[in-house]
Each structure stands twice: as C-alpha cells, then as structure tokens.
C-alpha cells in the first residue's frame, strides 16, 4: 500500500459555479471567494492511500481477502480488468472544523464557501490521481476505467465501503469508517478503478451518467464530477 500527500489547486470559478453562480459574479463575492481559496491552502491537508489488488472473477469480484464485490453494474465494469486499484483520499479534519466554526457563528456564506472549496479540492484530487494512473496505463499500453465510488451512481451498495477499508490501512491518512459506513473526516472519498489490457480507457475520471440525481449542483454530463 502506498501513501501520498498532494499539492492541490482550487479553481475559484468552479467554487463559484457550485455555489450557484451561472455567469455574472458580484465583485465582493468574487473577492471573498478568492480570499477563502487562498486561506484554505493553509488548512487543507490532502492525502491519499491506495493499493493494487489482483482478483478472481467468481460470483463477482473476489478479492484476496475473500471479500466479494457483487453489485452487478460494478462487476460488469471491472470484470475485464487485470487488477484493480483501491483508494481513499481526504482533505483532513481542519477544513471540516473551519466549516463548522463559520456555521456556528451564523456566517452561513463563509461556511458554504469553505464547504464547496472542500468539494472542489476532492474533485481535483480525484481527477489528478486518475490522470496519474491513466498515464502509467497508457505507457503500458493498457486501459483504465472511470472511478467507481461505493454508494454512488451504479454502485448502489454503500456497505461495500467496508471492502475498501478492510483492504487499506486508512489510519495512515487519518481516515476511519464508522459503523454507519460514513468516513471521518467528512471531506473524504473512496474509490476503485479497474486496469487492464481489455479495458478501454474511460474518457473521464468520473461520469454522472449512471446517477439519477439530475438536479445535483455538481452534475457533469461528460466531464469531471466529484463522486
């Protein structure tokens, strides 16, 4: 298993977009978001842990620890892979505390700005990690699927989070899975990718196509989306 710390970049225009701005942004808001983005670099601590795992195709995706991914859609996407990569990434606890502090002070605007900054940060990280894997795969002449996240889109069963957590030592990046399958700290994501000769490289790191939440503010039809 590997652990990596990341440098991330927060696109303030993406933050504004997810906050709801379509085109014209008032100058004071633009400045406020810009300041928050600059400050956020001080307390966002991006880290990721990941591992490569071989599997057998038997009643689903059978992993070395005997756990099985059974969700049909995911099995279909992964079954042609030579191996899978599992990852958990986080921005750390400080950003969560910052968000809570602003909400507790009734400064809902700042609380929301930092919340969205966290989501944009995770989106960036997810995309970067996928691109890195995709580059290596390309050099090896093999393909990579999009990122698949338990509980989201086609991966209906969020309880499969435990499969990822049983296979990674996430304590090294300070992430834990609760009994209700929620990750602490909040600003964390888990994912699986399939890599192999028979895999056609996905055009995007994640696709919202399988997700029924058509009104979701983070929805991306073809390109990047956060989970």
């Amino acid at each position: 298993m590997q652990v990596k710390n990341y440098q991330i970049e927060i696109d303030k225009y993406l933050v504004l977009k997810y906050l709801g701005y379509k085109d014209k942004v008032p100058k004071d808001i633009l400045d406020e978001v810009g300041e928050c983005v600059d400050e956020s670099y001080g307390f966002i601590k991006p880290a990721i842990c990941f591992d490569q795992l071989k599997f057998k195709f038997k009643d689903g995706i059978l992993l070395p620890d005997e756990s099985i991914i059974k969700v049909q859609y995911i099995v279909e996407v992964l079954k042609r892979s030579d191996y899978i990569v599992m990852a958990v990434m986080t921005l750390g606890k400080e950003i969560e505390d910052k968000i809570s502090t602003f909400f507790a002070r009734n400064d809902y605007m700042k609380g929301m700005i930092y919340d969205v900054i966290g989501n944009v940060g995770l989106e960036y990280m997810g995309k970067r990690f996928w691109q890195e894997l995709a580059e290596v795969a390309k050099k090896d002449g093999i393909g990579i699927t999009q990122s698949l996240n338990p509980g989201t889109g086609g991966w209906k069963d969020i309880k499969d989070q435990s499969i990822i957590f049983n296979n990674l030592n996430t304590s090294l990046i300070g992430v834990e899975l609760t009994d209700a399958f929620m990750m602490k700290p909040m600003k964390s994501l888990s994912m699986v990718y399939g890599i192999g000769k028979a895999v056609k490289t996905s055009l995007v790191d994640h696709d919202c196509a399988e997700c029924p939440l058509i009104d979701c503010p983070y929805r991306k039809e073809v390109a990047k989306c956060i989970n």
Partner: protein, 213 residues
Amino acid sequence: MAILQEISENLQKGYAPKVTELVKQALNNKLDPLQILNDGLINGMNIVGVKFRNNEIYVPEVLIAARAMYAGLNILRPILTQTGATYVGRVVIGTVKGDIHDIGKNLVKMMMEGAGFEVIDLGVDVSPEKFVDAVKNYKPDILGMSALLTTTMLNMKDTIEALKSENLRDKVVVMVGGAAVTESYAVEIGANGYARDSVSAVERAKELVLNYK
C-alpha cells in the same frame, strides 16, 4: 412603515451594515421590536425565499441575505427575549446518529430562524434517546432530522419509534430531509413532512404548525 420596508429591501440585497443601522434607528424611533422583526427581517427573508423558489436568485444570494438577517436579529433577539415575545413555533433539529454531515441541517436552521421559528440545534450524531430527551425538555412544535446517507437515515425511523414508545409521537410534528431521504421514505417511516431544500422546509413547517396547533 417606510423604515420597515427599507429594512426588508436592504436585507434582500444582503446589506448587513445597513440593516444593522436601520434596525437601531427603528428601535430609537420606538417601533415595536416584534414589528421590526416581522415586517422588516422576516418579511425580507420571506421574499428571498420566494425568489429562490422561482429561480430568480441562487444559494449565495440567500446566504448573503441571511448574513444581513442575523445582523438585525442579533440586535433584536436580546430585546425580544426580555419582552417574552413569541415565535412562530419551536423547532428542535439535529443530524441523526452515525451521521456527521451538517451543511443541509444548518441551512434548514437558518431559513427557519429567518421565518421566525425558534430553533434549538442538537448538532450532529444525535441518538434517538437524545432526540426524545429534547422533545421532553423543549416541547417543540417540530422535530427535524437530517441525514446524508441511506445507512444513517435508518436512524430516523428508530427515533420515531422511540418517540412512540415514550408516548410522545403525537405531541410533535416530525420533519425529515437530507441528500438520501425521499418523500416516500418519509411516508414509510411515519414522518409528517419531508422537504428537498431549506426553502421548501420552511413552507412545509409553516403549514404543519398551522394544522397541528
């Protein structure tokens, strides 16, 4: 009254310092604090809610208006508490056990306060027992529960069951919401109301309080 109209308009534009100044001025003019609250601040937030509903404005505009609302509320609240002025209703709200997502719950709280409800926020990871105790202690009109995931939302049902076994279920209106919650789930567990966003939550809360009071 022109000044109340001005408070409402400045609140809608999110001019917090101006709202502060006008609320102080209205108090100096010996206007009734409850009237300043209702016809100035709550009126302004109401219009903001309607505009949001009609897609005329977006979340940030609502949040900036809320900033202005709290600027006014911070001045009025201590006075209103002294005079014992009543609220539209009392809400106890929290994120259910096992769940630590509170953004949605916070936004609902904000809009409820902006509509004149008194809101007691129990925070996150609130067990059924804690919700029951809060219903006993605060005697709210509404109990609001929020959950992000399908796994944590199951605790909403447990809370409703806990209320039943303490004979409290018919004493309080139960509202539920959050990313994973749906109208049909709300019906299935026997909640009184569901809302998909904070503005609808307020509208539903008002209806429910009117019907149950």
